[in-house]
Amino acid sequence: MPSDVFHRLHPTSLLFGLASVLRGFLLPAVVVLVLGRGRGAELWLALLAVPAAIAAIVRYVSYSFSLGDDELVIKEGILHRTERHVPYPRIQSLDTTRGPLHRLLGVADLSVQTASGAEPEAVMRVLSLAAIESMRRHVFDRRAALGGAVDGERATATEVPQDRSVVARATTGELVRYGLIANRGLVALAAAAGAVWQLDVVPDEAELWRDVAGRLPGVELGAPAEVAAVVAATLVAAFVVLRLLSVGWALVSLHGFELARHGDELRTRFGLLTQRTLTIPRHRIQLVEVEQGVLHRLLGRFSIRARTAGAIAPDQSGAGRDWLHPVADRQVLAAVLDAAHDDLDLDAVRWQPVAAGAVGRRSRALILRSLAPLLALAVPLGPRVLLAAPVVALVAALVARRQIAVLGWAVTPTTVWLRWGWLRRRIRVVPMAKAQSVAVAESPFDRRRGMATLEVDTANAGPLGAAIRIPYLERALADRLWADINDRTARTRFRW
């Protein structure tokens, strides 16, 4: 595509624009129709829909973009004109999303991701697949040409002569396992329940309950044992249904999951109805997280995520952009870690324990934290609740022991590892080159025991605060590690 020539979006963009307007008005329209309230309601609705449709048409007509030598330029708007310039070196990835309509028409939504901000820099709805490919090639060529002199690694990130090697695939069986683990059934159910509630077509609940119970053979409400049996049966049925829904959700949203490596980039592709391709440049991976919940452990699987620079807006479906693999076994885990970054060998990590006094401290903290709500409950429910105190304290102490037993860390010349969590086991690894700052923190309780906490921060570390937080370290050790990591990070240049 030559520069300075401005292109329009694909003609079917108009269709998609109108379709999204319709979708926005669908639920109110259904509500109005079903409730049949008010004479002019339908007219009002139509009146409101028309300006929205006109806006969609205007948006399409006024949208144009050009692929220059140095940057992508996007112009849109008639009344409010905006012109956006996105320099190629800033473009982290070009991701596509394709719903069923997209697939039918051979087009896709393209989102231009940069390292800054949670929202994509630009979302182009829609472009033909050929246009997207040619755009990808152009952007990557220019990016390599512009950034090639500084670091050799980036120069190899050109699109065309790339060897594409598949790192991992998720078979249907794996996705079923994931569905069982992830328990997303509630999401699907909540959506359905919400819709039903909105439409107000469900009769009074008590009646419904009586109706259902009346149909069950030999059940008469009022007999406690039978009520209990009904409740238990309902719970079991609900559990099974939710798991089935979750499996269905997994099969649909992660269908055909594939992780491939294109030189310096990782690409994931997944989805049945809506197919997504997401790009994760390797050098932008700030930290890798491996997770194993109880069900994961039962099935011998791991979930692997990567956090990249530039905040990532979580996907609504929960199949977030930071997946490296939702359900990997031990071998696939090794392959994925290897593909994500050099020196990520989980088996070679020599986990170090925390300070010896950690168990005592953690036990005390947990016991206090679990007895406090018990005390609070004793006020309304009476002092008999306190009889449970020894049991609660014992459980808290056992949990604390387990937590500290699992807690481990490791610092290699190029990475920092942390392992924690007794129920949901988590492992995090941060490449030293991605560390933004290092801190040693000391609470008064730490000070009393001669301990400290080491914190390593990266970009986009997530809601938990610093990317890696190692508590209960001996203070001298914490200071030494701090100085060590300072040295290494000060010597390395940070590159996005």
């Binding site: 700052s437 921060d457 000060a490 940070f494 996005w496």
Partner: protein, 179 residues
Amino acid sequence: MTDHHPAAPVDPLAPVDDGRLRSLDPRVVEVERLGGGLGVGCLTLGVGGGTLLAMVQLLGQPLAMAAVGVGALALVGAAAWGAWAWPPLAFRHQWYRLDERGLEVRRGVLWRRVLFVPRSRIQHTDVNQGPIERHYGLAHLVIHTAGTVSAAVRLEGLDQDTAVRIRDRLVRVDDDDAV
């Protein structure tokens, strides 16, 4: 960690990035006290209003009124004492150190923290001044990194000149950052 105190204020004309541990400017204590005083003033207004209302409600019960009055006085007194006594304490527990590797900031009386930001991670720096700071000739430095917790590291209580000098020393000459 934060156990030792520098013997004397460091010569302000010495180069800022000599790698020595430096205290903040002592004037920051007054700035903090003033700020704290303003806060206590607002608190007094609020507590005073609340006490008046309570007194009106409790007219005729001298014991209760006395209790409320004493309680309000105690609250305001404690806040005022805190605003007076805290800043010098916090000041004694704050240091920074700048050298060719990066910036180190030590802070905290009870909950202590030593933070290090390598030079190469500093995206950009701001030198800001609030109105009270401006009156006293102070400024604070805000160092931005790409981190999450350390996205904006603040160094308050710096002399204006010193802050500008630190910022100048931190400006990265080699800017190959793609972003």
